[in-house]
């Protein structure tokens, strides 16, 4: 992950087609187009796992089905705790076979349609419910030296609790950290970076102009009349966090992609 930061490799989020889509073939084509573009740019494609509890197809199965090229340094798959055990094994086995190295392990958002991993599934009988910590431990135990595992950090949660959680994640073997979206310098993120100087941190930059979605993501309301220019904000984030990587969420491939190429390099 250090390599990504030193070489200014963006983490570009790509949302896989939703299960509810009525035009799957076209959605898959679009996905492949975005994925290949990220590959060509030398960035890292980050594929979400039923984000916000909305059912979507899985990154590993799309890569498999469409036979997309995997450069181990250029793919990151999100993996949350809303799976069946057999599904989890299948995901991990496919990722291993395909050479997918980076996994972002999160607790995730459930929904009525999503099964939840049970403590016994990940050999964690001592807990009431499975979080990213137990999942992380399980993967470390059963797939040693196979993956580089990352975890999420939310600076908008009560800090004491969040830092305590982060400690457990790091103790369980997390090797990099991705934050929730930030739109300015954030004291809690600063504190976290100080606390873990040896762990690569990737801050999330919000590339959509839809502020209500951002409000949802950060968990506090951002006034709709806030002036918000994603590209300018991104540049500021680079200046504020020169030693961090950047994860771009909801990047506009038509409108913004061509602009980001120079953003980081010019800082």
């Amino acid at each position: 992950m250090r390599y990504h930061i030193e070489n200014k490799i963006y983490h570009v989020e790509i949302l896989p087609p939703k299960q509810s889509t009525e035009k799957l073939e076209a959605d898959l084509e679009l996905f492949a187009e975005k994925y290949n573009r990220v590959m060509e740019s030398g960035y890292c494609a980050c594929i979400t796992d039923n984000a916000m509890g909305l059912l979507a197809f899985q990154g590993h199965e799309i890569i498999n089905e469409l036979n997309l090229k995997v450069n181990p340094e250029q793919v990151m798959i999100h993996l949350n705790t809303f799976h069946t055990k057999s599904n989890l094994c299948e995901i991990l086995d496919t990722c291993m076979a395909k050479g997918i190295k980076y996994l972002l392990i999160i607790s995730g958002d459930g929904s009525d349609r999503l099964p939840k991993l049970q403590p016994a599934d990940v050999e964690a009988e001592d807990v009431q419910s499975v979080t990213s910590v137990e999942l992380l431990r399980y993967i470390k135990r059963h797939y040693p030296d196979t993956f580089t595992l990352g975890v999420a950090f939310n600076p908008y949660e009560p800090p004491e609790h969040e830092f305590e959680k982060l400690k457990r994640k790091i103790d369980a073997g997390a090797e990099f950290i991705v934050t929730q979206p930030i739109i300015e310098k954030n004291a809690i993120v600063d504190e976290m970076i100080q606390k873990y100087p040896d762990i690569p941190v990737i801050v999330e930059a919000w590339m959509s102009k839809k502020l209500y979605l951002l409000s949802d993501a950060v968990g506090y309301p951002i006034p709709e009349d806030t002036e918000f220019d994603p590209i300018k904000t991104l540049m500021q984030i680079h200046r504020d966090y020169p030693n961090c990587g950047v994860y771009l969420s909801l990047l506009g491939f038509k409108t913004q992609y061509h602009l980001i190429g120079e953003t980081w390099r010019n800082i």
Binding site: D112, P119, Q128, S129
Partner: protein, 338 residues
């Protein structure tokens, strides 16, 4: 039956209540329905009949009269000791043919909702599920049945102009049970199970009744409900102590059930049960729509949560902003002192 003409309607009279009997005991919903049936029968100037199917229930028949039954039809047979949908449906269909009730109501319990659709299909008449309001149309004299649909978002009023009897299942705890009047008189009529009733029926191998009142959501006046914020089974034990103190049941959100902290029988919401209690106390349930549709019709909703902005806290009549792990035990303790 489908009516051939309007005068056919006159062949049908009286309001029937199908009694709910569990482990040989008449359930409160039956008393509620007798109350509702009384107003309907008064509007139609007809009588209230109760239908009691079960085993060793003869003694209980008399107990329906104080709540408003003018006649009680009793079928007492060992084959009726468990819940055999096929057998009970055949008996009801036969009795309906014989006595021609104008209206038939039954509790919208798991048994009622399995049994009455079978009766309605064979009797070729309409059925409205899970009604919360019943009345008689002053113009047509038809039975008006109002029920929530789309998880309580729409109230639909339904009638069956061309079929008799008119049938409805009625949500427990919505109608008010009348006070028992032991001076009332009524007639008890005994009917038998016929061989054809009892052909091709299921075999009940085992019956388990839980004595734990905390489980029976449909019967409770107060439900104390928890979600993911309960953090584990211990949290639900804490809710259980408050529930026991107030004689209530314990409910749960889907997340808590899926986490394995509490059995599915406690789940309230879209893929669980719909409840309409007097008081619903939500503890740390944020209020996903799938949960809200299962409880939004409760009379008084109290929400306890640290976060005042959740949908549940907005919907609540009383929103308590605070730490439920302090407030719930505090409440339990204070109620003991009362």
């Amino acid at each position: 039956m489908r009516l051939k003409n309007d005068s056919d309607k006159l062949k049908y009279s009286n309001v029937w209540v199908v009694a709910e009997v569990l482990s040989g005991k008449i359930q409160p919903v039956t008393h509620e329905l007798l109350g509702a049936a009384r107003s309907l029968a008064d509007a139609k100037k007809s009588k209230v009949w109760a239908v009691l199917l079960g085993h060793n229930v003869k003694e209980q028949a008399q107990l329906l009269i104080p709540y408003g039954a003018d006649k009680v039809l009793v079928v007492d047979d060992s084959r009726l000791s468990g819940f055999s949908d096929e057998l009970e449906a055949r008996i009801l269909v036969r009795l309906i043919k014989k006595y021609k009730p104008e209206i038939l109501i039954c509790g919208a319990t798991t048994r009622g909702r399995a049994l009455i659709p079978r009766v309605a299909v064979v009797s070729e008449c309409g059925l409205t599920a899970d009604c919360t309001e019943l009345s008689i149309d002053p113009v047509s004299g038809d039975f008006l049945q109002t029920r929530p649909a789309f998880g309580g978002n729409i109230m639909a009023t339904i009638r069956c102009p061309f079929h008799r009897p008119q049938m409805a299942t009625v949500r427990p705890r919505v109608m008010k049970a009348p006070d028992a009047d032991f001076s009332r008189n009524g007639e008890i009529i005994f009917e038998e199970v016929t061989e054809s009733d009892a052909s091709k029926i299921k075999r009940i191998l085992e019956v388990f009744h839980s004595d734990d009142v905390a489980v029976n959501l449909a019967d409770a006046q107060i439900i104390i409900s928890g979600g993911r914020a309960m953090k584990g089974p211990e949290g639900f034990k804490m809710l259980g102590r408050l529930a026991a103190r107030v004689g209530g049941a314990v409910g749960a959100s889907r997340a808590a059930v899926d986490a394995g902290w509490i059995p599915y029988a406690h789940q309230i919401g879209q893929t669980g049960q719909t409840v309409q209690t007097k008081v619903y106390i939500s503890c740390g349930i944020s209020g996903q729509i799938q949960h809200l549709v299962g409880m939004q019709s409760c009379n008084l909703i109290i929400a306890i949560d640290k976060d005042p902005s959740t949908p549940m806290m907005q919907m609540a009549d009383i929103a308590v902003v605070g730490d439920l792990f302090e407030i719930v035990p505090g409440l339990t303790e204070e109620i003991v002192k009362l």
